[in-house]
Amino acid sequence: MSIRAMIASIRVGWYREFNWTNPLTGFSLRTVGPLASVIAASTVYYVGSTNNVPPSFDPNRLAYILIGAALYAHVAAYSWVPTLAIAEGKWTYVFPQVYISPHSSLPYLTGRTLASFVTSTMTVIVSLVLSFYFLSSVFHTSIPFVVNPLSVSLLFLAMVMNILAALGLGLLLSAYALFATKFEWALPTYVAGLLMVFSEALFPVSFLPWPLSSIANILPFTEFMRASRQAMIEGGTVYAYFSHLGLAALGGIVVLAMGFLAFRYAENRARRLGVIDKKTA
């Protein structure tokens, strides 16, 4: 894979995300959505637990939901970018141009994903910080976060490691998007919704009925959430963190390999059938 092509694609990704306005406005508008969704999920827990008889509010649970809601939004925000790049690229005639240049599709999709990963990482960090202060003051509670250079570095490492699984998922969806002429833009909302339910974003997957709980339990996204919580919430251990991170990496490699193979197969087939630039059914 050409590094030069990938770096060029990262720049394209940023231009796509921000060139319609000034970077500050673009960044702010991209942050309010995740911030609001983190506060909403946390407030649902607060309202539910404080109006319970007897009240069952636990700041540890609030921290659990806060981290999960922020990171779920982060993964959902960039894992769908390859699908978007293809669907939108067909309509704007960008994607057929990518195909004309040799061996460019994978660096292009990877670069667009990485650009979105960087943007989303910044928005999630801002969302986490702002929601931490907002919720602490509105709920009059102390959220048990561990904020020091080590914990933040471990969180960042987990986010970087999760690129494997997210890119793999993105390529799996792209394999479909190459052939799709309608509704491919709806796939990401499904994936975001599924991630919310199955990645332990807001509640432990053990609450799901079997076999869904067992499937969710081994997903790399679930392990990523667990590792991040070990890093950021009081009571986490380095051993547990690296155990979850190792499983997230292992699962990520499997998902990435599956995504890569599915995309290569779909790409070859799409070339033969001549549907790379097909826009209508």
């Binding site: 306005t21 609001a36 109006n51 975001a192 919704g193 609450f207």
Partner: protein, 273 residues
């Protein structure tokens, strides 16, 4: 009065028909539209259930139903004229004798008809899976639901004129509006009243959005057995009706203003900025 003799009714019917046909002619739309509201309301219902309050699970399911309509208002009402402008349809609207207000009303009614199946699916699935406790006064629920949709879609009409002035910003503004409005409107939890954790000033500001009043009134009638004659509920219904009328009037004035301005400056058909 016969439908075909009145151009306003004919236009509204035509726009309604196109929108309804586009949904019902492709049943996959229902499956597509149900994804986000269903999974979000499923997750938040699980949060209520997993961490304490079973009796509030209905809030999250109702939220899933109403978020379908809010999404439709944003993506298929507010930004519709902008997209129509991009593909050249808006020029046809304004050069034809069809009244713009009739197009907007037809679009709204078609949007409600088109969103109804996916909203109903969220309600049915939520009911079957979670059995939320309900204590409903149905005539009040139906009236509140109708008034909420009327003022919500009137807001969509007002936004559509605003978005007409935008170019590529429209999509980003939509994405930025979706979650914050859902949050302060209390789609999944009470954001106003005794259960709300928000300060009074935030609650007062949130009450200016029709969705906030509608959600609160729906929760009162659906889960707390309140009906007509309850002072607070009656006030909310009155406020919703006033908001609907004001927004409808504002949207028509704003559209006329933008249309005239666009004609003068020659930007009415400019597609991409």
């Amino acid at each position: 009065m016969k439908l075909h003799s009145n151009p306003w009714l004919r236009t509204a019917y035509a726009r309604l028909w196109v929108r309804a046909k586009s949904i019902y002619g492709e049943p996959l739309w229902v499956a597509v539209n149900i994804g986000f509201p269903f999974f979000t309301s499923f997750s938040l219902t699980m949060v209520y259930r997993a961490y304490g309050l079973n009796s509030f699970t209905g809030f999250a399911i109702l939220g899933g139903v109403m978020i379908s309509f809010w999404g439709n208002v944003l993506w298929s009402m507010a930004s519709q004229f902008n997209w129509d402008k991009q593909v050249g349809l808006f020029e046809i609207y304004i050069t034809s004798p069809a009244p713009i207000s009739a197009i907007l009303v037809g679009m709204s009614l078609g949007g409600i008809l088109g969103t109804a199946p996916s909203a109903a699916m969220v309600a049915i699935l939520g009911w079957v899976i979670f059995h939320p406790p309900i204590n409903a006064i149905w005539p009040a629920v139906i009236s509140v639901f109708a008034l909420t949709l009327a003022s919500l879609y009137a807001m969509g009409m007002a936004l559509s004129s605003l978005y007409l002035a935008y170019g590529r910003e429209a999509d980003s503004v939509n994405e930025a509006l979706h979650e914050p409005v859902s949050l302060i409107s209390g789609v999944y939890f009470p954001s106003t009243g005794g259960f709300s954790p928000f300060p009074l000033a935030v609650q007062a500001g949130a009450s200016l959005i029709p969705l906030t009043l509608g959600m609160d009134a729906l929760r009162r009638t659906l889960f707390f057995g309140q009906g007509f004659g309850e002072l607070y509920l009656d006030l909310e219904l009155l406020a919703l009706a006033v908001m609907g009328a004001v927004l409808l009037f504002a949207s028509s004035k704003a559209l006329k203003f933008l249309e005239n301005k666009g004609r003068r400056t020659g930007t009415i058909a400019v597609r991409q900025r």
